[in-house]
């Protein structure tokens, strides 16, 4: 039992259950204790450590440690802590508890040794994160939260169906690599995981919901859902070739939309799709270097993406808007936020000395080493788009462009700066000392990021992209638009769907009900008096109708006896 309570995911979920009993004042501080406890467990449990139990006759491995789960465990626990610091000023119990459950779900998935445990934590993540969207309490967030929840119930359902099918065919519940066979069980599980990894065209929940979540909620969201799915892909589907092309396509799709979008948090949301594309592509390549690259990139990505969401969240907090049209010219009013944001932006763009450089290059080079130069060039193209949209377009139109902006800027709570500072420090630290990250990777690392070739490559690309941006920046000027995506099919189709599946069905049931009632009315009118049918002497003209009912019965009985006798005799 004690062992069960020391599972990192369970620690955070226990914390979420304890929070409501604590006074409001100490809740934000208590929040931070649980990720630290989880981090302690993550660091102290050796390879091969496991916690087992049984449920409805199945032996469950609720926690299993190896190098792959450890590195994801470390970053999830750290992010839960940093995001907790960022949300320190926020007093809402619902958001605090759900954020802890959400982080606990991600940690639970990371350490799950069997598929049943995994799917339980998986569903916990979906439900708790929905709260972080609804907590914004706007009409848009209500709708987006519902679409998000439905999408994830569908994805979780597919995963669970795949797991049951897998159990029925193989008899195994272990979380392990599955052979590259397109059996029903494997395909169901893969699609279920791909929903959470936001693989196109199943990505729309992300771009729809993340910009509409609460300021602090989106920091949590940027870290857990997609990256826990990346973990499961690394664990179960390494080397599945289809992932290479879906990954590369995601990387490009995300950046194109990031250039199109005009809402700073929407740009970042689409950028998650793009960055996860790098990881998915690496997983598809499946060599040790590529899996290392995908894992390292997930680690770096969580750090800089949460930093970016914290930076844009700070802008939203201070100005009340995330629409680029209303922003611009904020440099004088929010210089520190700009500086901290830029650390994240330079990291995500893979600029030397920042942590994106040490992981993105590894993934891209892994594609090259595996002989897949097309995928490599697609990823390089996507990194141009990353630098262009998140590194240049977003900060330019938020902090510069206009010379003055008379928008009212609220003061930021100190804890927001501290959280951004911690994340920025980590981004630079890992950029300067890549081996501190490389030692935790699942396979041995034979990769040196700081070679002259890499530096020349990245600096040339970045400089000339910058020049391109400067010349063409007017083409990306902010406007008030919404960019349609494939969610159009279910958002615009909603009225038609409602007509066919709700309204028409309702009308059909109405008609049937009316028919049944009409039949009932007719029958009750006809059979109001059973005697009218059972007694042959009811006609008024008939003298026998004047007899008493008792006589009726006797006479009827005699007649019936004659009838039966006649039938028996003559037949």
């Amino acid at each position: 039992m004690i062992e069960f309570l020391t599972i990192p995911g369970v620690i955070l979920i226990t914390g979420a259950l304890l929070l409501p009993f604590l006074p409001e004042k100490i809740r934000p501080s208590a929040f931070l204790i649980f990720p630290l406890m989880a981090l302690f467990v993550v660091f102290t449990r050796p390879d091969g450590y496991s916690v087992t139990g049984s449920l409805i006759g199945y032996e469950l491995v609720m926690m299993q440690v190896d190098s792959l789960s450890r590195i994801f465990g470390i970053i999830f626990a750290i992010t839960a802590f940093v995001a907790g610091v960022y949300a320190f000023h926020m007093k809402e119990l619902g958001q605090q508890s759900n954020a802890l459950v959400y982080a606990g779900g991600a940690l639970g998935v990371t350490y799950a040794g069997d598929l049943l445990t995994l799917v339980i934590f998986w569903e916990l993540m979906a439900v708790s994160s929905t709260w972080l969207i609804w907590a914004r309490r706007t009409k848009e967030s209500d709708g987006a939260g519902m679409r998000y929840l439905i999408y994830h119930i569908l994805g979780g359902g597919l995963l669970f169906a795949g797991i049951l099918w897998h159990l029925a065919t193989t008899g195994s519940l272990a979380v392990e690599t599955v052979a590259q066979e397109y059996s029903i069980a494997n395909v169901l599980m893969l699609i279920g995981v791909c929903v959470n990894a936001a693989v196109i065209p199943l990505h729309t929940w992300l771009a729809d919901a993340y910009p509409k979540a609460t300021i602090t909620g989106s920091v949590f969201m940027s870290a857990f859902t997609t990256k826990s799915a990346v973990y499961v892909l690394v664990r179960m589907f390494p080397g599945w070739e289809v992932l290479i092309w879906f990954g590369a396509a995601m990387a490009l799709y995300g950046v194109i939309y990031a250039v199109i979008c005009k809402d700073i948090r929407e740009i970042l949301a689409y950028h998650i799709v793009s960055q996860v594309g790098f990881m998915v592509c690496g997983i598809g390549i499946g060599t040790e270097m590529a899996l290392n690259g995908a894992t390292a990139h997930a680690y770096s990505h969580i750090l800089y993406k949460s930093l970016l969401f914290m930076g844009t969240g700070a802008v939203l907090y201070a100005t009340g808007t995330s629409k680029m049209v209303h922003l611009g010219g904020l440099f004088k009013k929010m210089p520190y936020t700009f500086g901290l944001y830029m650390v994240g932006a330079l990291s995500i763009s893979g600029i030397p000395l920042f942590n994106g450089f040490i992981s993105k290059g590894m993934t891209i080079d892994a594609a090259g080493y595996a002989g897949n130069e097309t995928a490599m060039l697609m990823l390089l193209l996507a990194s141009v788009g990353t630098w262009l949209s998140v590194g240049l377009k977003l900060p330019y139109f938020t902090w510069f462009d206009k010379t003055e902006n008379d928008i009212e800027v609220k003061k930021l709570p100190v804890n927001m700066y501290i959280a951004m500072g911690i994340a920025a420090f980590a981004c630079i630290f890992y950029g300067l000392f890549p081996n501190t990250l490389y030692t935790y990777l699942p396979f041995e690392v034979d990769y040196e990021p700081y070679t002259i070739y890499h530096l020349v490559e990245v600096i040339q690309i970045s400089l000339l992209t910058f020049l391109g941006f400067w010349l063409l920046k007017k083409k990306m000027a902010p406007e008030l638009i919404v960019a349609l995506d494939v969610d159009w099919f279910y958002r615009k189709a909603a009225p038609a769907t409602r007509l066919v599946f709700v309204k028409k069905v309702d009308e059909f049931f109405d008609k049937v009900e009316e028919g049944i009632l009409a039949i009932a009315r007719w029958l009750s009118a006809k059979f109001q008096n059973p005697m009218a049918w059972l007694n042959p002497f009811t006609k008024k003209g008939n003298e026998a109708s004047n007899y008493s009912p008792a006589m009726d019965v006797v006479m009827s009985f005699i007649l019936l006896s004659f009838l039966i006798f006649a039938i028996v005799y003559f037949v």
């Binding site: 199109i260 530096l455 020349v456 990245v458 040339q460 400089l463 063409l472 638009i481 919404v482 960019a483």
Partner: protein, 70 residues
Amino acid sequence: MKKIHWIILGVLFVITLGFEFTVLADYDSHWWNAIPAFYAIFGFVCCAAIVYVAKFIAKNIVNRDINYYD
């Protein structure tokens, strides 16, 4: 952007070119290593391509009024 910024970026670019033609002169792991300043050209062309493709898609296919879904 002040003039000095452009000069710094220009000098940085020249330094990378210098390295490319000296230290990396014999480097050959991909077919594009034979093209001089490939990554610079790649960066500029791809940047322009992404901007124009995104603009084209935005204008002709996906952009709608902000209240489209209301």
